[in-house]
């Protein structure tokens, strides 16, 4: 038997089945356990658009010893819990990768319906009697998925204690008998897997935590957002359910009341953001979350937030659009709506984290920024980021500052308090209802320093300037990565500029390209508005050619950058509903590297 070696680990496993097969649950145990054992894990589950029934689920997890940034386009092993769904995924298994499947179907199956006839010659078949084992050991076929996870763990020599720990924890609230039976199912599968001859070459090697149980926790992007909100001591949250943002609200519904904070499901997105603005106005740390269609409804309110200078945070998890679009598929096509989607000159702060840890950071920092710059802050996520899991280690010390509002300095009297006082940095001291002698009315109308409606031409010019100027400081906000360059320093042939969830694939492609000897570097831009122009321009100065890969058809980020810098970029756009493929980015990098070389030679 191969023991856990000193070599690196990089294994991607896909579990495919229908909604009723416990596919996602199986994937969950796998990723939680491997994170527990100290491995880096990136995982992304795909759910069927149908709510119930037999729709296809795929749980994918990439388990590594080194830091990686995205899933691989090829999996090293596929576990089929339902061949009718999994057959289409056989092709994602790489050369000498394993296909693990049910060898004891409950009933006769039609010719061609079994996955074994669909394997490529380079695949390794592992047929296992999941159902029989489950029935024998647990008394029912329902634990097939657990037996399969056990088999997988045995087959790849995964650390068994971590699995026991996770399963025990998962079933802690259930009956002891059930928990025991599930453990038995796992162990039975593990035993068979461990005693199966290993034909595959992928091995679990060292973990980041060197085998010790670690502080790494598996967390989805949305869970990280919720965690960030909690650590930033959110007071109020209002939302209206919409995929893929709903789980933020659901998590907060659980967590907030425990701390006395309040969460309310409103009647629509308009009221969600309206109430958020009301709460923000009243001094609360308030947030809402939605997806593209909800953001479209929120447009008008977003403008009110800008005009009335109310601190709020809106988490927007993008999905395929326009309109209802592809509710369960990922896309990055709401950038324009987020950045530009208000009536008038309504600039506000837009943050787009690139990974799960970033979700946590951006969520918490968004509250600081909203307060400090007195403006709505939009945190732009997407389905791939919201739903993907990564093993993250959260800071031991709470990294978020509490009250960041510019305080009212001297005691004012009623007539002297100016809510929208013109200051050097454009930020006015802010009073909230309940503050003595600072009564004022905020409005969506253009107004003077006191907040009284005014359509005086000079006033509108002055106030527009104030509202934009005050945001400039945000690109230097402390404790958050606004933009960051990776890879080769100084002059390179190819630079890849990216944002949001796609940056993981970009980094992987960049790393591959560098291995091939291509001089390149990648830069992520986390703050999309206002743009950190200085580092972006410096990046352009250093790069022969600049590539902008993103998951939308209209090259929205590329256009944003071109508009802001006047530079040229190469666009790479995909709208397949799935994350960008690393190899597609790599192919573009190679092409551009050749081009850059040719230009240099001339």
């Amino acid at each position: 038997m191969v023991k856990i070696g000193k070599h690196k680990t990089d294994i991607q496993i896909a579990i495919c089945g229908s909604a009723g097969d416990g596919t996602i649950a199986a994937g969950d145990i796998l990723k939680q356990a491997m994170a527990k054992a100290g491995y880096n894990v990136i995982a992304f589950d795909i759910y069927p658009p149908e709510i119930r029934g037999f729709g296809k689920c795929v749980a994918r997890a990439r388990i590594t010893s080194e830091q990686v940034y995205s899933l691989k386009s090829e999996s090293d092993a596929l576990v089929s819990l339902n061949d009718s769904h999994a057959i289409a995924h056989v092709q994602e298994v790489g050369r000498y990768g394993a296909v693990i499947y049910e060898d004891t179907p409950i009933s006769d199956i039609a010719e061609g319906a079994h996955i074994s006839s669909h394997l490529a010659p380079a695949h390794l078949p592992y047929g296992v009697a999941f159902r029989e084992i489950s029935e024998r050991v647990t008394g029912s076929a329902r634990s097939r998925n657990i037996v399969a996870v056990g088999y997988l763990a045995g087959l790849y020599d995964m650390p068994v204690e971590a699995f026991h720990h996770v399963i025990t924890q998962k079933f802690a609230t259930k009956s002891q008998a059930l928990a025991d039976s599930v453990l038995d199912g796992f162990n039975a599968g593990y035993h068979i897997g461990a005693n199966t001859f290993h034909l595959h070459f992928d091995r679990i090697g060292t973990s980041r935590g060197k085998g010790k149980q670690s502080d790494l926790v598996m967390m989805s992007g949305n869970a990280a957002v919720a965690r960030g909100c909690m650590d930033a001591e959110i007071d109020a949250f209002f939302g209206y359910p919409i995929t893929p943002a709903t789980t933020i609200m659901e998590t907060l519904a659980h967590e907030m009341p425990k701390r006395g904070a309040r969460m309310l499901q409103t009647e629509d997105e308009i009221s969600a953001i309206a109430a958020t603005i009301g709460a923000g106005y009243a001094g609360a740390r308030a947030a809402t979350a939605t997806s593209g269609p909800g953001l479209a409804l929120m447009s008008e309110m977003m403008g009110l937030g800008v005009m009335a200078e109310v601190p709020i945070v809106a988490f927007i998890s993008q999905r395929g659009g326009p309109s209802t679009g592809l509710p369960t598929k990922t896309e990055q096509s709401d950038l324009n709506l987020a950045v530009f989607g208000v009536a008038g000159d309504g600039q506000r702060i837009i943050l787009a984290p690139t990974n799960v840890e970033g979700c946590y950071k951006c969520a918490g920092k968004a509250f600081e920024m909203a307060e400090k710059y007195q403006t709505p802050v939009v945190v732009l996520l997407d389905l791939y980021l919201s739903n993907r899991y990564e093993a993250v280690e959260l800071p031991k010390k709470n990294p978020f500052a509490k009250n960041c509002s510019k305080p009212i300095t001297q005691k004012t009297n009623q007539s002297s308090y100016k809510r929208f006082k013109l200051t050097n940095d454009g930020i006015s001291p802010r009073a909230i209802p309940g503050d003595e002698a600072c009564m004022h009315t905020v409005t969506g109308l253009e107004h003077d320093e006191q907040g009284r409606p005014s359509d005086h031409p000079v006033m509108h010019q002055t106030m527009s300037e104030k509202r934009h100027k005050k945001l400039l400081g945000a690109v230097n906000h402390r404790g958050i990565t606004i933009s960051k360059r990776f890879g080769d320093k100084r002059k390179v042939d190819v630079g890849i500029l990216g944002w949001g969830s796609t940056f993981g694939e970009i980094l992987e492609a960049m790393i591959e390209a560098r291995k091939e000897g291509i001089r390149c570097s990648a830069m992520k831009v986390v703050m999309l508005s206002p743009l950190p122009l200085k580092p972006i321009n410096a990046f352009f100065d250093d790069c022969g050619e600049v590539l902008v890969p993103e998951l939308n058809y209209e090259a929205q980020f590329a256009s944003l950058i071109v508009g802001a810098t006047g530079r040229q970029v190469h666009r790479l756009n995909r709208v397949t509903g799935s994350p960008m493929r690393v190899r597609e980015i790599l192919a573009e990098i190679r092409r551009l590297a050749d081009k850059a070389q040719m230009i240099a030679a001339q």
Binding site: G112, H114, S117
Partner: protein
């Protein structure tokens, strides 16, 4: 997708199914493809691996190390290039010749238009040794061979019961790699070669000169698990002597693997009975390799033919006839055991390329 295509056009095209991916089956699949471009070809094998060269298995003991890729007859791409669907980990449980259907263990049924049985043979264990089955390691598949090699520590002692040519081939390698080998028994020594009693001593001496210890007149009385601190196996011979071994292997010839043919409606004796065209008593079923017994008009009986060259030729002829040809199998390799110029034993059985 590959298979979907297959089903859509099934009516028009032949669907050749080959059970077994040994030398006979693999050769047959290639011949089928070359003679019928338009057909569907499916190879079924119980193993998990692509067609593998079993004759090379002794190399698993090589100190240089090896993995199964070193034993492949063809790389994975070969099957795609030749459009041969090789389905592994498949157990055929029953053949329904009347409806031209194969029943598979995982409850799928598979239809064919022409079927070639090339499932080969497994180790034969004589009645007298059957009770010790569990104490004898298997060596039939790559996985078994590799497991044995990993279990055997450097310089370890291998006891072979029987000593057929497959075993002796392994014994040669084991000696070369520094292991100890003892061969016990008389009846199956040099199987499938028929060696005259007068000759037997000469060959045995050569084996001993090679460093193999031969106990040809002994037979096994009992086998036990070794006591702790001792070797893994403890053998008591009929003459009262005992031998301690790390591993016991049985090499007493082959037994055709055709349990799934029971009830198929095809004549079977020890193997599938076929005419010199390798056709069975069913008009859509052929057989080739170690699984078939071919009618020999000269000897007026059905008989087995062994050895790499023979088996490959059977695969070729069967495929030729399945695709409309009419060729009798005739030219078989000389099956005599020989002594080379350098004084070593050699056998056409061992020759493969």
């Amino acid at each position: 997708m590959r298979s979907k295509k297959r089903f859509e056009t099934m009516a028009k095209r032949e669907h050749y199914v080959v059970i077994g991916n040994g030398v006979a089956g693999t050769e047959a699949a290639l011949q089928l493809r070359q003679r019928d471009q338009n057909s569907h070809i499916t190879m079924l094998t119980a193993g998990k691996l692509l067609s593998i060269n079993r004759y090379e298995f002794p190399k698993v003991f090589s100190p240089c190390g090896s993995d199964w890729r070193d034993f492949l007859l063809h790389p994975p791409e070969y099957y795609d290039e030749h459009e041969i669907s090789i389905q592994r980990n498949i157990w055929v449980t029953h053949v329904n010749a009347a409806e031209k259907l194969l029943m598979l263990r995982h409850r799928e049924s598979l239809s064919y238009t022409k079927l070639l049985i090339a499932s080969g043979g497994g180790r034969y264990i004589p009645e007298s040794l059957n009770q010790f089955r569990d104490l004898m390691e298997k060596f039939g598949t790559y996985e078994e061979a590799k497991t044995v090699s990993e279990a055997l520590s450097k310089g370890g002692h291998v006891v072979m019961l029987g000593g057929d040519m497959i075993g002796l081939d392994l014994a040669r390698s084991l000696i070369k790699y520094g292991f100890r080998v003892t061969v016990i028994g008389q009846e199956y020594l040099f199987w499938p070669h028929h060696v005259e009693p007068a000759e037997k001593q000469r060959f045995t001496t050569i084996l001993q000169d090679m460093g193999i210890s031969v106990r040809s007149y002994a037979s096994v009385e009992s086998i036990e698990q070794g006591k702790s601190g001792r070797k893994a196996r403890h053998i008591v011979l009929n003459d009262g002597k005992t031998i301690d071994a790390d591993i016991i292997l049985s090499f007493c010839g082959l037994m055709p693997s055709l349990a799934f043919m029971a009830g198929a409606g095809v004549d079977i004796e020890r193997g599938v009975l076929v005419d010199p065209h390798l056709k069975s008593t069913d008009k859509n079923i052929w057989a080739a390799g170690d699984v078939c017994q071919i009618w020999s008009p000269e000897e007026n009986q059905y008989r087995f033919y062994y050895g790499w060259e023979n088996v490959k030729e059977m695969g070729r002829v069967a495929a030729f006839n399945m695709t409309g040809g009419n060729e009798s199998i005739s030219t078989f390799q000389d099956e005599k055991l020989i002594v080379t110029d350098t004084g070593e034993i050699d056998s056409p059985f061992w020759q493969f390329s």
